[in-house]
Amino acid sequence: MWNAIRPTTRNLRIWQVGVLVILFLLWHVLTKPGLIPPLFFDSDNDAKFFFGEPVKILLRIWDWFIVDRDIYQHLWVTLLETVLAFAIGTVSGLIMGMWLALSPLAAAILDPYIKAMNSMPRVILAPIFAVWFGLGIASKVALGFTLVFFIVFFNVYQGVKEVSPTVLANARMLGASRRQLLRHVYLPSATSWVFSSLHTSVGLAFVGAVVGEYLGSSRGVGYLILQAEGTFDINTVMAGILVLTAFALVLDGIVGRVERHLMKWQPRAGETEKL
């Protein structure tokens, strides 16, 4: 019996789903009033109040997506903010990183400021951005940008610095001009570093969007969560968190796909296709 369901590489997915189901069941059993005597709280209803009820949370999500169809506009706004922050942050991080890595003097001058801006707790900028850019999507994009930019920037900076000197010398001997070196050596070399940072930064772009919404907005999933919290509607808060998590996973998956496509030149561990 055990041998049939033992975890192997083949039934990995089933086991992954199984863990999720068990977690939800546990959650359900522990929070459903009257199902088991209260273990920790004084009253039967307290667990439900603090942790929500998975059935109601799933129903809430069902309502959002199928019955009322009112989450789409919020989700759209949040995703738009995330994607904009991610795209703008990545591109400017890439450009700045390349520029500073290739002009040591500029890097030396700006070094303390970059370090200062990176170590600053940038989430605190959200209220300022709200004042500058209003309560629309621009202030959230700005917050996400500040989070994404530095991660990509530092990775590109590092990537350009660590280009193999031999590959570089070889390209120069093959007649590459400065611009061609940039396009054909520095950029591809830096992209491998960029991609390792993109998984982190897509998550942070999401954080920027949601935190920005949470601090002041009229639309977005962060706004929904804030509203629900105002009325102690813990089920809706949890539902919002679940939806956000699912979409963060989707975004991360997309980045992973693009990475696999663009990075196919990189050897992967365990790959033994050599001739």
């Binding site: 070889n170 093959l174 007649g175 050897p267 001739l275």
Partner: protein, 269 residues
Amino acid sequence: MTAALSLQDVSCTFVSRDDRSQRYTAVSNVTLDVAPGEFVSVVGPTGCGKSTLLNVAAGLLEPSSGAVRVFGEPLVGINRRAGYMFQTEALMPWRSARDNVLAGLQFRGLAEKDAAALADDWLKRVGLTGFGDRYPHQLSGGMRKRTSLAQTLVLDPDIILMDEPFSALDIQTRQLMENEVLELWAAKRKAVLFITHDLDEAIAMSDRVVVLSAGPASHPIGEFVIDLARPRDVAEVRVTPRFIDLHKAIWNVLREEVLKGYAQQKQAA
């Protein structure tokens, strides 16, 4: 006749970045000519500045003093008439073998179609037909070296600089590659400056062998004309009496330097 490549009184002194008073003179007063079509090898103990010399000839490194002339013209910047085969991995890992071979043509602005045709032709010449789409990490060490060779030679350089190109290969692959290089060289007769620490390889391949002294401040201390008949097979030529005589004569000069270099390295360690 003007030399294809001519180093005149070249010295290279490196200054430590952290401490300006720390200096290291890698090579000093090196004068070396390579005639068009001539295959010259430079041998010397490890760490004697052989690669430094090659980098100077390539224009990647400016000598502290002395002059470099390429076909009579003083060298400024990168040596455009030279192709360079590096000791370590120099292929761009993000390009397939074919794209690596056509990189130089692409940099020179050749039309994509012509470049691809030339690259395929050279892949065929180095025996890599059918491997053009593979990335460097999917090729064996010998195949990567052959790709490098094609990458350098596809540009048809007048001077070929080689820095211990086969030192990382096993002995069989190495002899195959040496013969291949000799064959390609015989067809085109370019000037070659070949750096190696392997005396057998140097004698088997070259017209002339230059022996460098141990560093620091290494300089040529001997020059031998290799009058073995061509075409040669690097494996067969090694057992001819003339080869053995030459080997003995050059080794007599080289041995002391090797010991000196070894002693210095041991001291430093």
